[in-house]
């Protein structure tokens, strides 16, 4: 029995057999080739195929944990053009008539070996990327399929170096009981995916000495993995697992009931949705509506823009499971680090402060109105609300709203049915919008606070930066101040306000967010059951004091400590 400590990424206890997600390969022999020219052509074709695939993945890297993964893909693309990797491989083919597979792996092994001497961990890790790229090339040369998690057997703990969005996209989630990775952080893709499925996950484990079918205990609460546990440990964890499952199932069974605090305060709990599949699952997970429909998936991974008819069809399918509940549709939010192949823009020195969100839509009015018309048509018979991303000024909001009016006029002139009474509101994710919230609230129908971007723009800290992510804290007093101001502003103007960032699904933040009077919380479906239980354990009348203390404290870590203590004491009392 061995015990390994990592970073807790998704809570809960699982016991299962390891399924090691391997990207290594059969042992290869050297072979002399007759035509070095043919062999060089094979290698070049493989390089081009892998480059195309990596670019495709880079484009498809979705909202969650995007820029870290995009950066790794960009580095891997650069290694594909590296003289000490492919250059060396070409030389071995030319000078020794070696086959491309052997030539490539020799160059790769030699490079990886050199990295073993590097002492600085951070630099050393790049050897893994060199190896990943080489293995991708090798699989292509050998005509092997991409490694996939589609065939995971039942009750598996997936063990991997790290998981990319392309890996989890095809993963058999019904058979996966937990995920362990060697690298990664609490905000990495693996963490986000595990939480959305509702299974425990431990990341950043370093090396984990397991083969397939080792017995594993994964404790996602403590960030601990136990390999080949002894009987006594197993018995103890089985009890903890049962307790967790009972808690989770109890929460799940009440997930579809509305959530009231002890003293009767109701909060609307809705889901963040990024595809028709997620929309279909959301009601059974307890969502009363959609608080954030990300529409980017319609536009990514394709070379042409979706037309009005195609968008209309998809929106209809997404709205269908919600005959009464509110559906907040965010208009296209690209730019920043997400670029569309179909909407080429000039490069900008600082894309996060550039033409992104509503700004991009306003610069492409035809594209924008095509989306608006499709939404307005699909909204017939539903409570659909249109939301603009990345609004910084009232002027941007006015120009967006004007486009909605034009879209309605276009539809009415053509005699096409549409829902002309959709609310029109905006995200609060730029500090200026929160500061001007009292003025903007006079014009917008609602606000939804995007705490992730609001945190990064308020603190000027890239939340995906490996150096800053731990400091980019949404509990920072400056961020809490802006959230509180936004809610007060909305209510002063008689408008509703929601929260749709990561923070909305964090039980630790709940006493604060409820205390300031937030009307709606929107989160990934997997978090709803737990959050509703947390709401049922709170009393609204106590929360005014909690808010006061949170806003008085000088740092994010002190706020966290205070809230953790409050939740603990509150739990002990009830």
């Amino acid at each position: 029995m061995t015990r390994h400590k990592g970073i807790p990424a998704s809570g809960g206890i699982a016991i299962g057999k390891s399924y090691v997600f391997r990207t290594d390969l059969p042992v290869l022999g050297d072979r002399k080739v007759d035509s070095t020219a043919d062999e060089l052509r094979r290698l070049d074709a493989a390089i081009q195929a892998v480059a195309a695939r990596l670019r495709e993945l880079e484009r498809g890297v979705n909202e969650n944990g995007n820029s870290e993964r995009a950066e790794i893909l960009a580095l891997q693309l650069e290694f594909l053009d590296d003289p000490s990797l492919v250059g060396e491989a070409r030389r071995s083919i030319q000078e020794q008539s070696l086959n491309a597979e052997a030539a490539l792996m020799r160059a790769s092994d030699a490079l990886v070996e050199e990295f073993a001497k590097v002492e600085q961990e951070y630099f050393k890790q790049r050897a893994d990327d060199i190896r990943d790229v080489s293995v991708r090339l090798l699989r292509t040369l050998l005509g092997l399929p991409e490694a996939s998690l589609a065939e995971v057997p039942p009750a598996s703990v997936v063990v991997a170096r790290s998981l990319a969005p392309s890996d989890t996209a095809t993963m058999n989630t019904a058979n996966t009981v937990a995920i362990c990775t060697e690298v990664g952080s609490a905000i990495s893709h693996t963490a986000i995916i595990s939480r959305s499925i509702g299974i425990p996950s431990v990341v950043g484990l370093g090396g984990l000495p397991v083969n397939d079918y080792s017995q594993l205990i994964v404790d996602g609460d403590e960030g601990v993995v136990i390999v080949d546990p002894d009987e006594e440990t197993l018995v103890r964890y089985r009890q903890r697992k049962e307790a967790w499952e009972t808690r989770r199932n109890g929460a799940l069974s009440r997930a579809t009931e509305p959530a009231y605090t002890e003293d009767g305060r109701h909060v609307e709990i809705v889901a963040n949705v990024g595809s028709p599949t997620e929309a279909r699952r959301a009601p059974e997970l307890g969502a009363e509506g959609i608080g954030l429909l990300r529409t980017e998936f319609l536009f990514l991974q394709r070379n042409t823009l979706p037309d009005e008819a195609e968008q209309y069809d998809v929106y209809r399918r997404i709205f269908e499971p919600f005959p009464t509940g509110p559906i907040v549709v965010r208009t296209l939010d690209v730019g920043g680090d997400k670029e569309l192949p179909s909407l080429k823009r000039l490069p900008e020195g600082n894309p996060f402060l550039g033409l992104r969100g509503i700004r991009l839509s306003l610069s492409e009015p035809q594209v924008f109105r095509t989306q608006l018309r499709a939404i307005l048509r699909a909204a017939v018979g539903h409570d659909v609300r249109i939301m603009f991303p990345m609004v910084a000024t009232v002027d941007e909001f006015r120009r967006g709203r004007e486009q909605v009016r034009v879209a309605i006029r276009e539809l009415e002139q053509a005699g096409t049915a549409c829902n002309a009474s959709c609310q029109v509101g905006m995200m609060i994710e730029v500090p200026s919008a929160a500061i001007s919230a009292f003025q903007i609230a006079e014009e917008a129908d609602f606000f939804s606070v995007g705490t992730n971007d609001l945190t990064q723009y308020t603190l000027a800290m890239d939340r995906t930066s490996a150096f800053l992510s731990s400091q980019a804290d949404p509990f920072d007093p400056a961020v809490l101040f802006l959230i509180e101001r936004t809610v007060s502003a909305a209510h002063a103007a008689g408008k509703w306000v929601g929260i749709c960032g990561e923070m909305a699904g964090d039980p630790l933040a709940l006493p604060f967010l409820l205390g300031i009077g937030t009307d709606e919380l929107s989160m990934v479906g997997g978090r709803i059951a737990k959050l509703k239980e947390a709401i049922r354990g709170l009393a609204a009348r106590e929360l005014r004091d909690v808010v006061g203390e949170c806003l008085r404290l000088p740092s994010g870590s002190e706020v966290r400590t205070f809230l953790a203590r409050y939740s603990e004491e509150r739990g002990a009392r009830s």
Partner: protein, 92 residues
């Protein structure tokens, strides 16, 4: 042959995005360009290889020595010097 000594000011050192961009700048010239970690007294490596550049592990505030030899050696050194002194655009 042209030479340059410079301090690396990116918080990540010559790694990740800065390293990839450094290599891209170097690749824009036909001259043979080599770089070494002066602070660690390391060996010279090919500045057009990302793997080599990352391997010499230049951390923030360490110094590098760069040489360029070829037709466009002056321009190459100027471009790399400008790149290394420009944090605003490259440190993200």
């Amino acid at each position: 042959m042209q030479k340059l000594e410079a301090e690396v000011i990116y918080p990540v050192g010559l790694h990740a995005r800065p390293a990839a961009r450094f290599v891209k700048v170097a690749k824009g010239f036909s001259s043979e360009i080599r770089v070494r970690n002066l602070t660690r007294d390391g060996e010279f490596v090919n500045a057009k290889s990302l793997a080599r550049v990352v391997k010499i592990a230049v951390a923030q505030h360490q110094k590098v020595s760069i040489t360029a030899e070829g037709e466009d050696e002056d321009a190459a050194i100027r471009a790399l010097e400008e790149f290394l002194s420009n944090t605003a655009e490259n440190q993200q």
